[in-house]
Symmetry: D2
Subunit: 444 residues, 4 copies
Amino acid sequence: MEADYLPREKVFRDPVHNYIHVQQRVILDLINTPEFQRLRRIKQLGTTSLTFHGAEHSRFGHCLGVYEITRRICNTFAQNYSSQKPGDGCWDDHERLVVLCAALLHDIGHGPYSHTFEHIFHTDHEAWTQKIITSPQTEVNQILQQISPDFPQQVASVIAKTYPNEQVVQMISSQIDADRMDYLLRDAYYTGTQYGMFDLTRIMRVIRPYQGGIAFNIDGMHAVEDYIVSRFQMYQQVYFHPVSRGMEVVLMQLLNRAQYLYDQDKLAQFAMPHLLIPFFKKQISVTDYIRLDDGVLNTYFNIWRDHPDPILRDLAHRFLDRHPFKSITFEPAQQEKIQQLQTLVQNAGFDPHFYTAINNSFDLPYDLYHPSAKEPKTQIELQKPDGSLQELSTVSPIVQALSGRESGDHRFYFPKEMLDQPESSMFASDLAAFQKHIINGALK
Amino acid sequence: MEADYLPREKVFRDPVHNYIHVQQRVILDLINTPEFQRLRRIKQLGTTSLTFHGAEHSRFGHCLGVYEITRRICNTFAQNYSSQKPGDGCWDDHERLVVLCAALLHDIGHGPYSHTFEHIFHTDHEAWTQKIITSPQTEVNQILQQISPDFPQQVASVIAKTYPNEQVVQMISSQIDADRMDYLLRDAYYTGTQYGMFDLTRIMRVIRPYQGGIAFNIDGMHAVEDYIVSRFQMYQQVYFHPVSRGMEVVLMQLLNRAQYLYDQDKLAQFAMPHLLIPFFKKQISVTDYIRLDDGVLNTYFNIWRDHPDPILRDLAHRFLDRHPFKSITFEPAQQEKIQQLQTLVQNAGFDPHFYTAINNSFDLPYDLYHPSAKEPKTQIELQKPDGSLQELSTVSPIVQALSGRESGDHRFYFPKEMLDQPESSMFASDLAAFQKHIINGALK
Amino acid sequence: MEADYLPREKVFRDPVHNYIHVQQRVILDLINTPEFQRLRRIKQLGTTSLTFHGAEHSRFGHCLGVYEITRRICNTFAQNYSSQKPGDGCWDDHERLVVLCAALLHDIGHGPYSHTFEHIFHTDHEAWTQKIITSPQTEVNQILQQISPDFPQQVASVIAKTYPNEQVVQMISSQIDADRMDYLLRDAYYTGTQYGMFDLTRIMRVIRPYQGGIAFNIDGMHAVEDYIVSRFQMYQQVYFHPVSRGMEVVLMQLLNRAQYLYDQDKLAQFAMPHLLIPFFKKQISVTDYIRLDDGVLNTYFNIWRDHPDPILRDLAHRFLDRHPFKSITFEPAQQEKIQQLQTLVQNAGFDPHFYTAINNSFDLPYDLYHPSAKEPKTQIELQKPDGSLQELSTVSPIVQALSGRESGDHRFYFPKEMLDQPESSMFASDLAAFQKHIINGALK
Amino acid sequence: MEADYLPREKVFRDPVHNYIHVQQRVILDLINTPEFQRLRRIKQLGTTSLTFHGAEHSRFGHCLGVYEITRRICNTFAQNYSSQKPGDGCWDDHERLVVLCAALLHDIGHGPYSHTFEHIFHTDHEAWTQKIITSPQTEVNQILQQISPDFPQQVASVIAKTYPNEQVVQMISSQIDADRMDYLLRDAYYTGTQYGMFDLTRIMRVIRPYQGGIAFNIDGMHAVEDYIVSRFQMYQQVYFHPVSRGMEVVLMQLLNRAQYLYDQDKLAQFAMPHLLIPFFKKQISVTDYIRLDDGVLNTYFNIWRDHPDPILRDLAHRFLDRHPFKSITFEPAQQEKIQQLQTLVQNAGFDPHFYTAINNSFDLPYDLYHPSAKEPKTQIELQKPDGSLQELSTVSPIVQALSGRESGDHRFYFPKEMLDQPESSMFASDLAAFQKHIINGALK
């Protein structure tokens, strides 16, 4: 694949990678499409920015960052491990263009508040990424087609992990890929936490291609280990923060209520949310999808502050003015007690269908390759001086401890009012009963 | 003024100041108001984030940051320069609450894309800040009133610089105040540039109260000097970046066009922009004002992508998909030539009322106190060991060079299409004529 | 204990903690003693600076850093957990002075290249620390005595861990104390690695006193976990670096050879190493001890470049001009093979007593409290909201994996010449035989 | 010039540049010479480390850093501005080896505490740099000769600024060269100040070769301006710090006294300072010179703590235990008053020849090229899009303000005892008279 080069390299100043370097015209053209520019209006971390106020960055910067890390890996590979003949396990730099485009576009299908939105409207950002890349009506597709008619499909297949060259696939999708490396560093930078920091420059020195994909020189083992720990800690400390999930739950119930009202023909009597209608109808075109962003959702919520439905109105207020639901942890075996709590919430005047929720968040920090798994993981391989491979967790006791073990918690969410001083409430006995079930932030 | 203290200090993780510490309940309550939470939906730097993609931070974090710097100044003053008797020129810690509230709320009146928005709709964020603080219908006002009935007015007077204690006023508003110190550091952090960095901890060590306001120990002169240079460079390099201004100009013309269509009753025939109507009508209530944010504007622009008016449609597309107008610098004396250029733009098919603009951006990095000036500056005073004062620019040749001297440029903006290869255009001769007027990015 | 305060706080600019704040006169006086200033001439990391060239910092900065962290812990404790009555498990700020002095002086007994030097000359830096603090002829002792006659002994007992207040002892000596926290951050900063970085400000927010010593709020668990991982990685990656140990081994053999020559009356015939003689004689006064520093040792080595003994001369050259011994890892069971290697080294012309060495470096990253252990560890306790404690490794799978498990390796060191191309050497067959024993950097 | 490449690039971890990359064998061989390794034992900042305790780094790291910046400039030039035919003003990459060697070795002739040492012993580090490079008995010379017999002379001529290619010379020696850029960043990092920080990556993007040497694209003007300000501030705040100069003055007088005693045959009767004798005799061979380092000087000072001469003994104590002379500023016209002060110092029991000193420190932050100057400066040129040049100070008011203007001060140094409370001294009236001459740290 040959690409036009820009007469002079263009750079984007980036706080994480210092500069993002763009050399091929197709990359610049992709960045300038409406589909890609839309990513500026979609926050990378959704409701997490409501807990870590510094983390208001968008998916736009993240996508540039994944592109840049990928570009640097290609440079390292081309300089030190350039393929001499097919099948030698080294890097064929003709793959550069397809992997750079895939890196840049891997999140192009994300919508606003992805996780929650997808849950309610049954959309899937990965499917939308494929669609945006391969649908002839998008500018992204048209630009990719200028390389060759089947180029859009090739780029899409890298993201779908069906591209034949494993090195290309693993750069974008594996347990230590450009995507994860960028988001950990970026989210750590913007939240102001240090958990996500790891030594990218050292990883760049030890990463290398091999026959089966991507490996790391064994003397860089600790840099990889540190990355795994960083990822683990970001999940536990930032991504699974109970307050952010308390806002996510409010958002989910707000959209639930809107869908409920729409289904009863009671939503739009007030003011027609044009841009959302296709989603309520479940008939979504590419154009509809591309119109959405965080601001569009927030604007309809803003309008719903005055909606006749009191629950919609209240939930819109809670979301926009940041009044998260509170939560307690519980064990799966305590399911029955949760129902008792829901009854108490109902007694206190809140419809539990819209004012309580279960949120379970679990992450698998690292896992071995299990061919029979639904989505088998690419395990991380270390390469010894004599060329033999050794799987990471056999060398690192830390990774061994995290391997194959999900971390997270089960939480039950409810309105903050349930924790008010009982005596100050007209529902004194229900509040008191509710509060008796809690100790050290957990269900007793 | 006495305030309730929280049972346990609450902190906000912040990437610039590490932690924001909140100790008084009133501060926490103010942060939780809808008026303050709205600041999360208004970008600090407006269109600058379209040039420096990392700088997507909102006014929310900045306001917390100004509060935090102010809090640290109060701590330093209370620890080292606590007033022993009235009029001794030292710090009276009873002023802490009023200055903290003023710091937190000083930008509460900002709307979306402030500069441009105000220009079109004749609003003024400083007046709105006063209004939000003093209007009984806002939650901000109600919380401040709990301290005392005249407390809102006192807070407002600090921001209006009419509060009697000059130390309090200068902490928030002077040529080296908590506001400027926070935004320089914050904008530098988020853009990823280093120009705005200066040594805040050193400034915190040398800042001190005196009879007439706030001064700096003379042995910290270079820290203050460095701050002035940082500020100068941020203006020249970041805030006045010609590409951001190219987007600002597109935004201005887009709003201009919308107002123009509204005045002709042609805007809302398509889809009623409810939340914007009061602004077009110039009848704006506090409630109307508080409803606006960046997302609301962008959502209407998004809807206008399908508006029947081709100019509105085109400008909405240019703004949302980031197609800035291009520019050249010119000298005031070249006004006549500008008209020639506008004619060429018109010949090429663009209505110059909506497709060209003049943007002059100038900043005064530092100035002496001139009592007769419209807004006299508080000059920066250095204090010697024997207590005598010396004005900064008399000691620093660098500050001397910048003092009283505006820096910036005059730019003429026009559609990028004017720089196309003439031969590829149906307006070949006009483009060629236009391009002949330009050399080294300036009007010949 | 009451201490004079300085009229104005004095600060030392520090790259790790920004500023070191000194408020009591006794602290400033201790810093100004010859015993403390001597620490400027002793590198913190000894031969590690020969691998990580940036890490040339001395024990002086580290001691100030430990003092500063201790000071900040005291501030936090005094502000949030101030004792109301004896035995309430809170912090008694009368302990501040003794713990600050102990923090500052905890390393005052370190000599040049401590580890190696102690091994050869049978000195012990902890015993010397006690001696310098309690011997009436030192300035340190005289200054401490000004507080009270038994104050030096109290300070010494904190370092000896016999001081009655466990909170005081654990601030300086535990598995997460001010000493370790400073050296990890400092060594990471100066080496330019990022392994040692952890979130000190977060740890400062969750550290708290309790009846039995020092604990951490359980919601700060991950910050403590991250510290344990950082420490583990610094040991594996920096402190146990095989090349630094290759220089340490050269140094050890150089001093061995000097002692050997001294014992045979052949050392000083050339040039009397006055300042070292007491150490060769094993009759060391406090004055003798305090005279030594890195430069003194290096200067004698420098002079020995011309010594008549060829082995002393050669080892001095290898040390000063940085020619480390090379190494391979081995397993304890391979002891016999090591002897074969030593014979081959001898065949190649190198006396194995001075040209080979075993260096085993192991660290225990974390351990539980075992009352029967030789030096029982203080385990790290997390405190829940209801006040109950939970030991760290029961909550953190990562710490669990590292707990009670020594990490490190066994290495055999030999001259680099043993790895030369055999054909280029007059000892071709011995070199070839030697090299056959090695694969992937390990003994076969 | 062709050089052998290493089979695999070697890196040195560096806290300032992250990694130093070594690709040619000759560079690695030069680093491994005794002459270069000696730089590890010579502090970069001499007595400044006694004020900024973090700044204990040696010339070794700085030399690697200058090499690394030079290497990156070569890479940029080779990639973007590679010469197509002789005389086209672009970069000829055959110059790479000579400029890299010159960068690495430019400080090889530095001795311990250079400035002071040279003043007393009339040595000149630049002359010694030439000598070490060109003398056949050094290892450095032998390694350079392997490239070609005249290669040492070529390297030396780059440092002497007589090499014909101005681009090569200016990379190492100009007002914005790799030497200055490294030491500013490095000294800022190690002192923990931020004054020396400037945006190296941005400068690397705008630096470019031209016919007459090295220029900068005009759109990077502010990055260059910021560098000039950083340099100015490091001089004023760090390099000219009055306390460091107070230690420098003690050192100078200590060496003065030693020479004085040597000249009277009274120095060595106590203990022969073998390694220093050639310097007292002014008969210095290359071998003698290379033997010296900071530790050697300090060791002799250490021994002189017991010397029979009371002044030598006292000054050695003041230097090693860090008791700087105090100082006041004065104006040149006040020369006569200085003599009065010296008389008072003498009256108080201190020989003014050894206990007082004048220290004038001035720096010229930037200057234009003046062909008639003793050492004409290379002025900084900015290049416009059309290729024309513009001198920096004509565009930057800040640089204009600093251009051609020396900054610094005159100071008179004396023993701290002169500032004691008069009443506590047996020289009460002299002290009182002395102190009356001082106000705000200056001579009245």
